[in-house]
Symmetry: C2
């Protein structure tokens, strides 16, 4: 039998972020309709290599697709000049169980995670949100910002804060307009301003929506700095022990998860749960329920909303299938006998 | 970066069963030395399709390899003329996390499972074992038998019993010598006899070693039929609810697992455990501990020994790496950019 293999370069050629946002939205909605299965995630730490790997897998019933993704994060690779973040995504046809394709998983992960952060903002932030704060200026931050600009054309000011390095935030800011054009063919309006920030309390005082995408293991953002009506898309905390925002923010917020079980187990709400601040019952719902209209997202202009995203293979599978279909249409990728 | 993809046909060209037996033995021994990690297995049943899939994954520290295997079993495919059993195996370099290869998983699964059954017999059956009984004459049975003949040259009589169909056992028996020669290049001595069987109590009365490889969900073999000194390699029960031999056989047997946790959870000993006949403490050990000399296998000629094998990704990873190395040497497989 034959399968298609897609390299990162193939995927970059075919995958457009607006299509990924649509696909991710569809996956979340199917989840809210009980038409998906999220299988248990597996995580392992390689002590000697100071590295980690995780396996996410699941079934998107409506699309009749299932699959698994193995991601490896080996930060010491950077010293050796090889990629630190790599992995493979497998997609199977759930009508026959036959494999459809194998592809680089790292780029798809970045794109679908960006889409998730943006959908959280679109569904839960105030419609008049103008000021976006990006906390974290690493590899993933670029995709979060790009997707949010597509999903929220009303954004006027983007502030970038890197808790580890102001220089990093400056570099990120300097390059953002040209990177959006070059890498994602996104041309931003001249009226949108991008600026680095280093005064977190100051910048939070007029921020409408925040994306946190750091490796933090203790809160960076304190509750008293946050203005009424702020939305948070918390993306960085995707393994046990990671935490980016003040647990107290969960007390009065409307809280949404990508998957309640995963978020309680290893998302931003893991530690608030262990502290007794969040319970399974106190979580308002899952993002898919808001996207499908089953649950109301924001109910007032001055409330806090939080979207905790831990990452679902469902999003990778739907996104990967979009890439396969486009690659087949354009004659990209390599078809191999398996 | 580049990875190699191997088709089933590539793997068949390079993988020799004696090398697989060596590799599987090495993996079991590394497990007994605490140099492996077996990650939780994932299983899912597709109700509408009457199908199942499972994901096994793990880390072979000594070889610096980790990986995952997704297998799909869609029996209704047969009606459509497409393979019912398919899957992919991914292998990664654990020094860098980079992917090494992707390959068909079904043939490797058959080969390494055959090797496991044979190693169970070699380690635990009486050294003077001459009469082998194969219970089950399906797709996998062939590999069990082939590996056992390689590992146990003292076998003289092979009886094949298919609890569902005597005709099936006859067909299997008729073809076995030519299949061994054609498919695995194994030439069997003329003195070895192969015969179909239908009288299970009768044939068990002079059987030394038994391999069970059926889909049974209730015991096929009763304790009172079993002669003293018999060994069982129980391979078929690899999902919750499957069971092939009388739970009472576990009462006085020396019992070995491929992985104690997995066997208690979904192996042949799952139901005896639920009945209280087997406990974690009553299991004598793992096969790797016998192969590495840490534990004694058989201690008397008239005792019953049982090897419960649920299947470990460790075996697939080691076997898959052997296939990659041989394919690279022989210029087989397809190297693709990923």
């Amino acid at each position: 039998m034959k399968i298609i293999t897609l390299s990162q370069s193939d995927i970059k050629k075919v995958l457009e972020l607006d299509k990924v946002i649509e696909g991710v939205k569809k996956a979340y909605i199917q989840k809210s309709e009980g038409r998906t299965a999220v299988w248990p995630s597996i995580e392992y730490h390689f002590e000697e290599e100071k590295a980690a790997m995780d396996i996410r897998s699941g079934y998107v019933m409506g699309e009749k697709l299932h699959g698994a993704k193995m991601l490896n994060n080996f930060p010491l690779n950077t010293e050796k000049g090889i990629p630190s973040f790599s992995g493979l995504l497998l997609i199977f046809d759930s009508k026959t169980g036959l494999p459809l394709g194998v592809m680089d998983a790292s780029y798809i992960t970045s794109m679908r995670t960006g889409a998730a952060a943006a959908l959280g903002i679109k569904a839960l932030a105030r419609k008049d949100s103008k000021n976006l704060l990006l906390v974290g200026a690493g590899r993933q931050a670029f995709y979060m910002l790009a997707a949010t600009l597509l999903a929220m054309p009303q954004i006027e000011n983007v502030r970038i804060l890197d808790p580890l390095s102001y220089d990093n935030a400056c570099n990120f800011t300097d390059q953002i307009v040209s990177r959006l054009a070059d890498e994602l063919k996104i041309k931003v309006r001249d009226s949108i301003s991008f600026s680095p920030a280093d005064d977190l309390p100051g910048v939070l005082s007029d921020t409408d929506a925040v994306i946190t995408i750091t490796r933090a293991t203790s809160p960076i953002i304190k509750k008293e700095w946050v203005k009424a009506g702020t939305h948070f898309s918390c993306i960085g905390a995707d393994m046990a022990g990671k935490e980016e925002i003040d647990p107290d923010l969960f007390r009065e917020a409307r809280v949404f998860a990508d998957d309640i079980k995963q978020c309680i187990s290893f998302g931003e709400m893991e530690i608030p749960c262990k502290m007794g601040i969040v319970t399974k019952e106190s979580v308002t719902g899952e993002l898919g329920e808001v996207l499908s209209g089953k649950k109301q997202g924001r109910i007032s202009d001055d409330g806090i909303t939080i979207f905790d995203a831990t990452g679902l293979a469902l999003l990778d599978i739907v996104t990967g299938k979009i890439a396969i279909d486009l690659a087949l249409k354009k004659g990209l990728g390599t078809v191999v006998e398996i």
